[in-house]
Symmetry: C2
Subunit: 209 residues, 2 copies
DNA sequence: CCTACCGATCGGTAGG
DNA sequence: CCTACCGATCGGTAGG
């Protein structure tokens, strides 16, 4: 029986393993504090071997960011598929984003600050991946503006929203009182100002429709 | 004429200069990518001299954070002095915070992620400084809740608010279209949901009362 | 992908 | 606060 594929060059699985380990370590310890030896050890390689897959530590960071963002983008699209109501769609975007950020293994937005060390070409690739990621958000916000649910979908609104969500990485505890669903509700409520027209006591007690 | 003070040990000015330089460099390049040599050079010292003032690089980071937060706290208190209306006070808190963060030389909240390398004792000192800093915010939010301007002043609200503001360090450009005053208005409007009851076009055109 | 290694750099110290 | 320095570590490479 014929093999699926001739073995050409490096094993793609090992490359993906390196990227996952790198992303996790970069988030955990920071780019500079993470050594290429840490990353190699995390996947059972020797110190020099990551450089067989990636030209430099910088390229490892760039690839981890772009792959992480694209994986998150795919997750977003799958989650909002078929949801026509923009308010529900926003809620799903927020919840899915928080899941990627706080439960996932590759919280790319947290690596934003670590890209300082990268050159302009890498920055451009990462920026393009961020732009893709933000597309469904901007569409949804604009639909909410058109239907009068928010007063403005101008760019700062989206950025303030991402700020609310991404910063939670600094304080959210999975073993705390606040569930991810509740946090998502809080954030959406803040944006939509719907709590203002609800009785405060019931603001967090919404059932599923 | 008598000297104000006998010279006892290290010059306090030099210590403060080191802290300012360290804070700026840590924000700019990250804790690990900043060398103690960078910091020494920034204040015109030789490579070993910072260790005359601070026991370790970690202590430099801890002191820079605590000092930066306490300076920001003093700035907050001065700014809100005598403002009775909680809505106006919140607006001033937000604007002052954004000023410290985006125009100041020591944006301490951005160093939160860099404290990974510090031990438990240092974390406790920094946490205490953060708690002080958050006091006037929490008081103001609770007053807004009591007077019915926001539906809840529970802890996540304050944290989401800080998220909106702090994340702006990642995208705000001083030479862009959005002024700090406008950004502050946007953030406050999001929280108070006042835009909902205003005509959208005038939401950003408020004069001073 | 491993072995063996290099050049550079870094935090920190001794002694003045 | 400087000079001179040490031990350790790190990103990366040559050769297989």
């Amino acid at each position: 029986m014929p093999r699926r594929k001739k073995e050409t060059g490096p094993e793609p699985n090992r490359r993906a393993e390196l990227l996952r380990a790198a992303a996790r370590l970069f988030v955990e310890k920071g780019f500079d504090a993470t050594t290429t030896r840490d990353i190699a050890e995390a996947v059972g390689m020797r110190s020099g071997s990551p450089f067989y897959h990636f030209r430099s530590k910088q390229e490892l960071l760039k690839a981890a960011m772009v792959d992480g963002l694209d994986a998150g983008y795919a997750r977003l699209l799958a989650a909002i598929d078929g949801i026509a109501d923009p308010e529900k769609r926003l809620r799903v975007l927020v919840r899915t984003h928080l899941g990627t950020l706080l439960e996932g293994e590759c919280p790319s937005p947290m690596l934003l600050g670590e890209t300082r060390a990268l050159d302009a070409a890498a920055h451009a690739e990462i920026a393009a991946a961020f732009d893709r990621y933000q597309l469904p958000w901007q569409e949804t916000l604009e639909e909410l503006e058109r239907t009068g649910r928010i007063p403005s979908a101008a760019s700062p609104v989206r950025l303030l929203l991402f700020g609310m969500l991404n910063w939670s990485k600094h304080w959210y505890r999975a073993d705390g009182e606040l569930s991810l669903d509740e946090l998502a509700d809080r954030a959406v409520a803040l944006l939509l100002a719907e709590m203002h027209s609800l009785a405060p006591q019931t603001a967090l007690e919404k059932d599923r429709p």
